[in-house]
Symmetry: C2
Subunit: 484 residues, 2 copies
């Protein structure tokens, strides 16, 4: 028998890891080299035949080759799987990738089931919806989350999730913008920027991509960057409550951020995917930061114009886009539903409305979120749905308290947790991948290494509060055993 095996590079990823394929061919012994495309080496039966695989002449996208390793969360999942293979009998508990665990409230799933059934009826069937989302859902999002903030339904773009919208926003901005992000931050901001060609190469010494402004957020600055040290960029990604640190920017801090953006003419992309976890008076939306009042200021008047207006007073100086999601409120991580707010008044330097280009992207590169998911979203925003979502959020916040108390009792410096489902634990002087490995190996708990969120996350581990109560309690027991 003769074996052929392709000499293409193998993958470090579990998925696609098995790129080399071996297969058996009839008992022949040939040596053929044909037109430079397929090189076969003579072989006796049973011996391997080498083959240089055919390649296209299409060059690999240089931006893709800049990316370091895989996307963080699949990498965490890979290590979890490897651990489970090594310890098949272990009860592995994941407080890692931020995946929701609690069932979706029945009022919401029933609406989705009903929508599903209705699609099999003549009256209930609908095909393509508006790419921007169902009108009723857009209106409900606008009134529920932005009721008094001057955002209306036509500013809302319903989507299949904030992560997907982040990429669509990057397509919108294109290759020639510069960006800043919190360090540490959700890796999709940086990775999508690399993919779009906005960055330089990865610089191993500092663990940063060239041409990205990393805004360091540490305990010493209260996890809010020192803006006086930050270079002007076109785009500023800002997430509050923050993933991964769990910290929340105050109203005063967000005012500073908005002022900073205005001074520089930047656009803020504000990620509010965890806003429902806020239990103090921190802003839940970047649009809470007054623009209308600044207009008053510019007019030299101290009147509150909005209170005299029969229409919601819209800020004339928009600097922000906001993206959010039902994932962490309603457990829609698998159902896929989010939204992005692009106010009509947000303008590029030539005066062209950003929303018009984003609308073109949404119409060309997307076809709307699933109509069933959208029916679920509408149910989320009913009075019963909102209460059910608050209950779910409340449950996860109880988990957070348990995790925070555990690490506190063990003497760790613990951050976040209060207004977010993430607990940010300091392991000073240690590699976060090493701590991740230690916790996994010794307790069968999956966390997320802080350095996966940027160099500013080194020495930290993110512990997610998404878990069944029993698992969270068991996890804390094991942590107390390990770090007692």
């Amino acid at each position: 028998m003769m074996q052929l095996s392709a000499s293409i590079s193998s993958s470090s990823s579990p998925f696609l890891g098995q790129i080399n394929t071996n297969y058996r061919t009839p008992r022949v012994s040939v040596s053929v080299k044909s037109n430079g495309v397929c090189k076969c080496v003579a072989a006796t039966p049973q011996a391997p035949v080498e083959e240089t695989a055919y390649t296209t002449k299409v060059s690999r996208n240089v931006n893709m080759s800049k990316l370091q390793a895989g996307y963080l969360f699949p990498e965490v999942a890979r290590r979890r799987s490897a651990h489970m293979l090594k310890y098949p009998d272990a009860h592995v508990i994941s407080l890692g990738i931020g995946d929701t665990t609690e069932p979706i409230p029945d009022v919401i799933t029933s609406a989705m089931a009903e929508k599903s059934h209705s699609l099999s009826t003549l009256e209930g069937y609908s095909g393509y919806g508006a790419e921007q989302g169902d009108k009723k859902l857009r209106a409900a999002i606008a009134s529920t989350y932005y009721g008094d903030l001057g955002i209306d339904e036509s500013d809302i773009f319903v989507s299949d999730g904030a992560k997907c919208d982040i990429s669509r926003l990057q397509i919108l901005f294109g290759s020639n913008v510069t960006m800043a992000c919190q360090d540490p931050s959700y890796p999709a901001y940086v990775d999508s920027s690399v993919i779009m060609g906005q960055t330089g190469q990865f610089q191993k010494d500092v663990e940063k991509y060239g041409n990205i402004e990393y805004m360091r957020c540490t305990p010493s600055n209260g996890f809010f960057p020192d803006l006086s040290t930050i270079t002007k960029t076109d785009i500023i990604f800002f997430c509050s409550p923050n993933n991964p640190t769990g910290s929340t920017a105050t109203r005063e801090q967000l005012k500073q951020l908005v002022e900073f953006a205005k001074k520089n003419g930047s656009i803020i992309v504000y990620d509010s995917a965890y806003a429902m976890y806020i239990s103090d008076d921190s802003p839940r939306s970047i649009f809470e930061i007054p623009g209308a009042k600044e207009l008053t200021f510019h007019l030299g008047l101290s009147l509150d114009l909005a209170s005299h207006s029969p229409f919601p007073l819209r800020t004339r100086e928009q600097v922000a886009i906001e993206t959010s999601s039902f994932s962490k409120y309603a457990g829609f991580t698998g159902v896929r539903l989010g939204w992005t707010v692009v106010p009509k008044e947000l303008l590029f330097s030539d005066g062209f409305p950003v929303a018009r280009d984003f609308n073109r992207i949404v119409c060309t590169c997307f076809n709307g979120a699933s109509n069933i998911a959208q029916a679920g979203g509408l149910a989320c925003l009913s009075p019963e749905g909102l209460k059910a979502m608050r209950d779910t959020v409340g449950f996860y916040k109880e988990n957070t308290d348990i995790i925070v108390d555990t690490f506190n009792s063990l003497g760790f410096d613990v951050y976040g947790g209060k207004n977010a489902p993430y607990v940010w634990v300091h392991f000073p002087g240690r590699s976060s991948w090493e701590v991740f490995g230690e916790i996994l190996e010794k307790t069968h708990l999956v966390t997320t290494p802080g350095s996966g969120f940027g160099p500013g996350g080194e020495g930290f581990v993110r512990v997610s509060a998404f878990g069944h109560r029993g698992n969270v309690l068991e996890a804390c027991k094991r942590l107390k055993q390990l770090y007692k």
Copy 2:
């Protein structure tokens, strides 16, 4: 009272058309010009106040500014809406944007309803799924559509639709590739290429973007391009059965296309979204075009290696990606589910597997299709689901016959229809937007103007066969009246 109105450019689109907002402010009269940001002009009560809106300093993406007008189908929808406003009592029938109209078979919607309900239970709940899709669904797609073609489940990337995947593929390829597409063709190929910066400016004289190879498909070449006249490009988009012409490439033609791609080292992106409409022996997948046999040829042997192999024999010379969808088979235009096949053996010029980069895109820019839609997809591929999908396709094909017969009886040259839900009707020497307008104005029927699919579509109108039977019959009656 004082009125402020922003002097930002207004939109030609109905959506976002109302960009200027007027609102009332208290009775004050001020003239302020503050730091170049907000220019307000003195006003007496009731008189307008002009304001130069604040703009960011972020430059508009130059690629976005290259795009001509809006995306085709929203533009058709806009004209339809305008017509309905003009004739509020008219029974407007849409054979335009290719939107499915028949209910989804119950076996499929029941599976989605069941999945929805299960998400409210502890046992049934699941959060993030694999970005590449549910393993069972990937396996079912591979075995149903590619059973004997050497494609396995790990080559399948489940998505929220072919249109979305086309954009993700463009992100994968990046800005420095060149592309070809059929002319006319589905506009997402060209528009996404423009957005990614692969093209030059739109050239009004020829109605083409620079740096795209338009492969003219006309009745005179049987809607298959004369490849001897086509310039080498990196990427070749090819759709068969074709949208909009309804033509289907033969096996012999696809062999020529694959040979052409191999000679040039190109990657074919094959759109098979209408493959289930094929009723003759035309290939349903680009992977039916032999690569394995070419290996035999290169070895100088005529043995069929595959028949001796315990594993499916995979072609070593992959040149193609295939994208497809449940939209037009199961009526999932609103549910959103599709897939893309990227064989592991498809390699960039440096030998790097294309699938690994596409996997990175899918993990970074996407989070998987809705789990409810995926449950529906799995039901589609059950024996009952497949039968139900075939029945739906059969129904639309009957519509197609009715439409083809109508235009034939009126003496038109009619193309497509046989293996596709689209009928391509020739109106020689006439502007297709003009014909579109004539049909809409005189019969209240919405079609799609051929020139919306590229300059090669000028003089044609696409008539979609997606419609209730009564509407299709009524539409044909009106057409017979108009063109008798």
